[in-house]
Amino acid sequence: MTKRLWIALLVFIAAGIAMAGPVSAADQVIKIATQTPLSGDQSAIGVDMKRGAELALEQLSGPLTAIGFKVELAPFDDQANPDTGVANAKRIVSDPAILAIVGHFNSGVQIPSSEVYHASGLANVSPGNTNPKVTTRGYLEVNRVVGRDDVQGVVGANFAGEKKIKTVFIVHDKTAYGQGIAEFFKQKAEQMGMKILGFEGTEEKANFDSLLSPILAGNPDLVYFGGIYPQASVLFKQARERGYMGMFLSDDGYDSADAIKIGGATILEGAGTYYSTVSGPASAYPGTAKFIQEFKAKFNAAPQPFAAQGYDSMGICLKAIENAAKANGNKLPTREAVAKAVRALKDYPGITGTFTFNGIGDPTVARYFVMKVNSADPAKWIENPVVQTLDIAPPQ
């Protein structure tokens, strides 16, 4: 009995060795994951981030296929929710075929999820996270292709200064992202001598009546919202309904055609609505004309903000994996090697700029925009004019 068991075990081990024998690269699959909100409020942006990455994978995976790898996309839905993001992150790191992740629209989701990536050395290129903490933790794995809120908040405050704003009421959504940028805005605005009439966080999504009473009582020149459009637009709309005619200013979280769908024509009245962003419309970058055309052809819709950044993030991942594979003798690179290769890229020619990462993963120069909402037609959102363009290096 024991003898038969031993023989069976030996056969089993032998079979295992035979199967795990030298495998040509052609059999090997490399997966690159994406994590963005694919359902829910923020899916308009999250889906197009993923689509941008998908398009890049299709167009730019040639060199890796030539070596003999099969490259696949593994899309995940983080639902803009930190818990879901972390749960997905655990699934992602447990799949050994995944060598990089393009991910997250919300800083509040990216920050806890990237702790998981960091723990297992998985390279993460972020197409849209702007909170400083994303990179200031100094993780080798975490990089981003966009600017930071400690600059974006200041850009917003400077713009308010140019518009001769004297009094401002600041509202934020209590997330790492929204509260973060609101605080940077507040700091700079105070320095510039603006009067801060209030600084309030709210998770309210529908009924802003009681928040509006203190706002309107001060009749500020400007209402600043740090957060994402589903809340911001409802707040702006209800403020206009109650007769507020001052200016609205928000951040890159406001940048979605749904913002005007919710807000309607009223937000164009009075002093108008502006937003700062780290991702200008795809047309603001010289290299994106071809991208827009191909995106429209494939998905039958114009790209939302951050789609081009999704494309570039995926391009960076592919290039880094290619470099790491070549350095490894055309064999599958380790995750650590990929992470190092991302950081080591020099002047990667993306469509939204040329990327070199600094020591903590910020791009050496990032571009910031201030945009004006110009039309009540959601289809014309991408034609919103750029009021200001600034190239600023990240703070050290």
Partner: protein, 391 residues
């Protein structure tokens, strides 16, 4: 006899109107007085000085000038809560259990109504509609929301509650919570089938976003306008109509008599020839329809809905029902109005009274502190359980 009945009916129509007026006025006066007293006390302290520095106006004046607008806002949301709370209370009246799925029935009504309006907008009917037609479409959406929510409520009762009718009281409660989660995710699934987006935005049409100006007051450097938007008026008027209708149904018709009989004693009622199952279904239908209409009105007022939209209004309406005395219809009305007012007053003035330390974001504390306080000190609610006439 005929004349007696007639006069009786008119009375039943006027009574809830009087109650609503009384409750609204009462809670406005009590809360306003409370705010003014607080403002007077705090005026001379650092709180008043901080406000004076900021807005160049005394705390008392600030409070006084803001009060009318806050009262209008509070009334609007209060009537929405009251309409939802009636759904909880009616079901409790006949079955003595809390139908936690009611918040999803409310959400279903909202989605059906909004989807119909979105479809109309897509076919270009909405943008070209005249004012009368716009109101027609809104009424259509409200009725569709009512029918869908009513049908869903009856189905839920038939599938998830009736088989458990004679089980211990905890069992249907757990079933209700399960149904609540199930419905939430069903809505999410169905709404995200086409685009992956499960939130919906109420189309803009008609003159609902317009605002009637009632007055203008000077507050330091700023002008505070006092006004009420047309959609707030629509919300209040429709809620009042529904509440009057419901009161009439329960207190002045034969069906209402049957409902009250079942609420008092189902066994005896069935001996008297009342079909208890049918009456219970009917109760769910009426409660569900009220919830569905409240859902569409909520979407009209607040523009954006998602599958979880029912949770907070549902929870607050439940609190309102407990506050007024669960099982008691007048109590639900009172509870809804008081809770809506209290929440709005607290949210509007808390930031100023605490110098910004605890702002509007904490207004929900008041709703739920009330729930706890009522449960501890007056578990039967403000109006009492009203056992003899519960329904």
């Amino acid at each position: 006899m005929k004349r007696f009945l007639k006069s009786m009916n008119v009375r039943e129509m006027l009574r809830p109107l009087g109650q609503m007026f009384l409750f609204s006025l009462g809670s406005t006066i009590v809360l306003s007085a409370l705010m003014l007293v607080l403002a007077l006390i705090l005026d001379k302290t650092i709180v008043g000085q901080t406000l004076f520095q900021r807005l160049n106006v005394s705390l008392y004046t600030y409070t006084l000038i803001n009060l009318p607008q806050v009262a209008i806002d509070g009334l609007t949301i209060g009537f929405v809560y009251a309409a939802i709370a009636l759904g909880y209370t009616m079901v409790y009246g006949v079955l003595e259990f809390i139908n936690f799925a009611h918040s999803e029935i409310f959400a279903t009504g909202a989605f059906v109504g909004v989807e119909i309006l979105i479809a109309l907008e897509k076919f270009g009917i909405l943008s070209g509609a005249s004012l009368a037609m716009a109101y027609g479409y809104l009424i259509l959406a409200i009725i569709a929301g009512m029918l869908a929510a009513g049908a869903l409520a009856v189905t839920v009762e038939r599938v998830a509650y009736r088989p458990l009718r004679h089980a211990s009281r905890l069992v249907p409660l757990i079933s209700a919570i399960g149904v609540s989660f199930l419905l939430q995710d069903m809505i999410r699934l169905i709404e995200s089938l086409t685009t992956g987006q499960y939130n919906r935005i109420m189309p803009t049409f008609g003159n609902f976003d317009h605002r009637l100006l009632l007055g203008k007051m000077t507050l330091g450097a700023a002008h505070i306008t006092l006004g009420v938007s047309i959609k707030s008026i629509i919300v209040i008027v429709s809620a009042v109509l529904m509440l009057v209708g419901l009161n009439y149904l329960v207190n002045a018709t034969k069906i209402g008599k049957a409902i009250r009989a079942v609420a008092q004693d189902p066994q005896t009622a069935s001996l008297m020839g009342i079909n208890v199952n049918r009456i219970i279904s009917l109760t769910f239908l009426v409660g569900g329809m009220l919830g569905g209409a409240a859902g569409v009105l909520y979407a009209l007022k607040f523009t954006r809905i998602d599958p979880f939209v029912g949770f907070f209004p549902g929870l607050k309406a439940f609190t309102a029902a407990v506050l007024g005395g669960i099982g008691n219809m007048t109590g639900a009305l009172l509870g809804g109005i008081v809770l809506g007012m209290l929440e709005t007053y607290a949210g509007s003035f808390m930031g100023v009274f605490t110098m910004g330390a605890a702002g509007t974001e904490y207004k929900d504390i008041f709703a739920f502190s009330i729930l706890i306080l009522v449960l501890i000190f007056r578990p039967q609610g403000l109006m009492g359980e009203h056992v003899a006439q519960k329904a």
